[in-house]
Subunit: 229 residues, 2 copies
DNA sequence: CGCGAGCTTGACGTTGTTCAACTAGAGTGG
DNA sequence: CCACTCTAGTTGAACAACGTCAAGCTCGCG
């Protein structure tokens, strides 16, 4: 066990930091620690969630499956999977994952029993409120993504993706774990077209790109491309 | 006032039915009743919500604005607008509508003060839990929509739209308030292409279409088109 | 050294948008 | 009562943006 107990866990954020020691103990009692290798599937679209997955170290992609996947977002450390799916069982139906998640690099996660988590949310009002805020903020990000998807052309979508990555990693010089195909799927654009557009951006000195080292040279222009395209 | 008070309102559903008389009284005390005419904007993308809008009679479209709008869903009577936006203010930012809503026909709504609503959710745990369930179920529908958008071709998307409408109105013979353009925007397809595909479906005896009277003749085939396309 | 995965580029083809023209019906005003 | 205008719907033709295909390249690893 890399993490001794939920009680002392240093990765607690959001609603977890509002839980009592007893509640954290309950979660800890049947907690699982898992190491995912690069490429491993963390959760599978269409299945019923049995655990809240707390990615405490690593990186993963959230995507809708298809002939070409569509990446909804990139998860970094200290993020959770399956929170929303814990509660959309209103009409007696089983909740389902509407997306898959896969590790982009070796990653570590704790699996917490979903029923225990639900019970805590039912008992602890403060936690419940924070879960609500968390879910709403995810939905908000998600709507922004759909706006880009539905309103922008490939140039605009790729500019958005690059700005998204820069914001996510909080730097203009990103050493990406993402392949070109990941970027393509994040931008809902074909692999080849993505590469062509990235090359254009490079020769226009808007970005620099060397292998997987990405540098945003001119964010203003990128933002302009995102707006206008 | 068409509705005397929230307390006696017969339109209460979900979390509203879990509120106490005092809480409903509080909402009622500064409640507004509004009639929207066909075409009226009910809420505007990019603005901050000030009220929970309860559409108690009528029909409206929820859409992301752009050169071509993208319709996320159709709202029928007894639905709420702005619930999600009430809580995504975690990081101190103002919550914003990420979509617009417009009346497709003359519609009636009550506007409830959002701050009062927030306070109730903060006090009443049962209501909070039900709000959570409500939001998660909306997000679930929403993800299904994005799956169709990102994975299906225009035929599949239009088949999905028709099946969606049939399920929404709970009938195979729909007297639509939607124009062809609405159907196009709901399917993320150009107006002309939408009309062509609808004509195909008609000549293949899969649907019947006379003006705005739509009849689904062969749902199995529609489902097959949605799956395969 | 050879293999395979990831990356890149150019040529080609297709789907679906755009444009243009036309019809029908509904509302308006002289 | 009949021009008129405007909106909604429909159809066909032209175009272009993208995706697809094919080929070759590089690099890391066994």
């Amino acid at each position: 066990m890399l993490i001794p107990s939920c009680v002392d866990c240093t990765f607690k954020k959001h609603f977890f930091s509002l839980m009592t020691t007893e509640e954290l103990d309950a979660l800890n009692s049947n907690r699982l620690e898992v190491k995912y290798k690069k490429g491993d599937l963390i959760c599978k679209q269409g299945t019923t969630p049995t655990h809240i997955i707390c990615l405490y170290n690593g990186i993963a992609k959230v995507y809708i499956e298809g002939n070409n996947n569509f990446l909804l977002s990139i998860l970094t450390s200290q993020n959770y999977i399956g929170i929303q799916s814990s509660f959309n069982c209103a009409s007696g139906k089983e909740p389902l994952f509407h997306y898959s998640v896969a590790a982009l690099d070796d990653s570590y996660a704790c699996l917490l029993d979903i029923q225990t988590f639900r019970t805590i949310v039912h008992i602890n009002h403060a936690v419940c409120l924070e879960v609500l805020a968390y879910i709403c903020s995810i939905e908000s990000d998600f709507l922004k993504k759909v706006e880009v998807l539905s309103q922008k052309n490939p140039h605009g979508r790729i500019a958005d993706t690059l700005l998204y990555l820069s914001e996510l990693f909080n730097t203009d010089r990103i050493d990406m774990k993402l392949t070109r195909k990941d970027i393509a799927e994040l931008s809902y654009t074909s692999l080849e077209n993505t590469i062509k557009i990235l090359s254009e951006l490079k020769s226009d000195k808007i970005i620099n790109l060397d292998g997987r080292k990405l540098e945003l040279l001119d964010k203003k222009k990128l933002q302009k491309i995102r707006e206008l395209a």
